[in-house]
Symmetry: C2
Subunit: 347 residues, 2 copies
DNA sequence: TCACCGCTCTGAAAGGTTTCATGAGAGGTG
DNA sequence: CACCTCTCATGAAACCTTTCAGAGCGGTGA
């Protein structure tokens, strides 16, 4: 009736339960003949280990979790793939939890995961300052921040990508191409990533010895294609002499919207206006004019975070000692048609 | 040291473990004063239920799973959201497993889920004919097929969307607009969905009394933007008199690629060529010319599948009886600019 | 011959929770 | 005052696995 347990296997093979357990966990401690008999019994009965019982005994599960902001966003699903890969390699199962930007759901998931006695949690928090997260390590559940630098009260590892550097990269590239009137499109400024990318853009200008007003800042209300179009309208509305010759967008969606709007108004990309996006989403390469974009090592981001988590877990169980680290990856610039032409432009 | 258990709570509150369990599970069977004392002890100790122990006792977990083909695909992540919603409503946790189109990974996940004594499994199988799936219900694990109709040896519920109807919808719309030379772009034909959408397209033609050769079939090697561009080249290469005036693409990516290629060659959309896509991905609405597309009720797909699973599970535990059902949803047509103009065209 | 060893296998304990039969006490009834 | 009922609380059993001390046994070296 109920699924066969180790006891049924033992009875069928004519051995004790301890022996069956040994066949399962330490096959080399068991005589060959006995082992064969047990294995046959397992096959015949279709025995399947009961994870709950194992966990109960062991006191912890063989599972880690990743609580992410938006499963629909390819950025996070790529990160998740990296996490999954590392978990798989370590023989652990992965709980994927979608907080959907909702702090309450995030909390609910954390509760759930605590009850599951998860080995550790990777999380891209809705609110990195919440003290909810900071409480977990105290309960023996290691936490690694993903795509967020360590922040506020939280003590632990974090893995992120340097957005300031990404902004610098983008604008330095435009400067190198000879552009001297550049616009930044992005917003709202409440988003850390947007602020930091802008900050990087300014830094690049400063490094080139240009005045701060060489950068026109166009603040949007979101990071969508629609907002990109609006930004495009603002740009096409500028008198040609003051119009920027290049635009750095905080995100590829903005860049795509901008591209569409400019094209529609007969502004040629990249000849009249060059565009750099951010994130290198799949569509960036597939756009009407393939988009130069700043790429983040998403897969590696996830992988590294999981590895840090596993290291911390191992340390808590007698492995080599672990010290918290703040890993920050550098983004890459992927150059495509949208910035391809090289011209020296008048200031 | 180790996290406090029910026993510690009992000691602190001066009651027996049974009482603590009752406070947790059947609060109304416990006197108010005692309950208060126990609740306080729980709070003070920071007690957290141990799921493994509960599961062990109960013989089954409080978890269901969804094994999907590609977490990066927005179609599946929307379906997953629907599943999650239903699971949440039922107070169950959800394991999201990404098979990545790999039968071996799918199998590994199924093994894992069996060990976890999962309540049931939703799956969009890599190979719907595999007998691996058919074996699960025999083990007491209900399975519901998602985005696949019931097939071969498998007995159970399934939830899918009618792709034939989607094809009909798309082409009927084009016919109604007066188009008489229509192309179908899609492939490879090994994919069921592609075949069925084409089948629907043919059916719509037949229903309108048009000859089968009114439909030009352009078979692609994949469902990507790049393949869409190639298809565009083929179409622009046709002599103007034989060129189709409308194209139905098996997928929005193809449609977007096609749109780009046509625009680039000076073929106006929708004035010279109308386009209908399939899936209504986010970018369909955001394209340079917003795309008419066939939308599938993804969220509802997931929700319904989860509900069927829960019903089956309830039935297995003394609830109302359950009979397997094959639910098939109808897709919608979302009309946008890419088919907006209405003109009567010469045959 | 004895002591000891290594190799296999055994059997029982432990892990945290739920469930259930049982008991204790309070309050009501005749 | 005896009896009954009802409400609350108790404590032990059960869920399935892993672990560990130790037993049996054949072999080895002194």
């Amino acid at each position: 009736m109920s699924p066969p347990g180790i006891k049924d296997v033992a009875a069928r093979a004519g051995v004790s339960v301890g022996t069956v357990s040994n066949v399962l966990n330490r096959p080399d401690h068991v005589g060959a003949a006995t082992r064969a008999r047990v294995e046959q019994a397992i096959a015949e009965l279709g025995f399947i280990r009961n994870e709950s019982a194992r966990q109960l005994r062991a006191g912890r599960s063989r599972t880690i979790a990743y609580v992410l902001l938006d499963a629909g966003n390819p950025f996070f699903s790529d990160v998740a793939k990296g996490v999954e890969e590392a978990a798989r390699a370590a023989g652990l199962a992965l709980f994927l939890c979608n907080s959907d930007q909702d702090a309450r759901r995030e909390d609910d998931y954390l509760d759930l995961l605590l009850e599951q006695r998860v080995r550790g949690v990777l999380v891209t928090p809705v609110d990195p300052d919440g003290d909810r997260l900071a409480a977990l390590p105290g309960r023996g559940v290691p936490v690694v921040l993903l795509d967020r630098a360590q922040h506020g009260g939280f003590e632990g590892c974090s893995v992120s990508v340097d957005d300031v550097e990404g902004g610098e990269l983008a604008v330095a590239h435009l400067l190198e191409l000879g552009h001297r009137r550049i616009a930044f499109v992005g917003g709202p400024m409440g988003i850390v990533q947007v602020r930091e990318r802008l900050q990087g853009a300014r830094a690049a200008l400063a490094a080139a010895g240009l005045p701060a007003d060489a950068l026109t800042e166009i603040v949007t209300e979101g990071l969508t294609v629609g907002e990109g179009r609006s930004a495009g309208e603002r740009i096409t509305g500028m008198p040609a002499g003051r119009r920027p010759t290049a635009v750095f967008c905080a995100n590829d969606l903005l860049a795509l919207g901008l591209l569409q709007q400019l094209t529609q108004f007969g502004v040629a990309v990249p000849d009249d206006v060059a565009i750099v996006g951010y994130d290198d989403i799949e569509f960036a390469a597939a756009a009407a004019v393939p988009l130069t974009s700043v790429r983040q090592p998403r897969h590696q981001l996830g992988r590294t975070a999981a590895e840090l988590l596993l290291e911390e877990d191992a340390a808590a169980n007698g492995g080599p000692p672990h010290t918290h680290r703040q890993v920050q990856f550098s983004p890459d610039l992927v150059v495509r048609e949208s910035t391809r032409t090289r011209r020296t432009r008048p200031t």
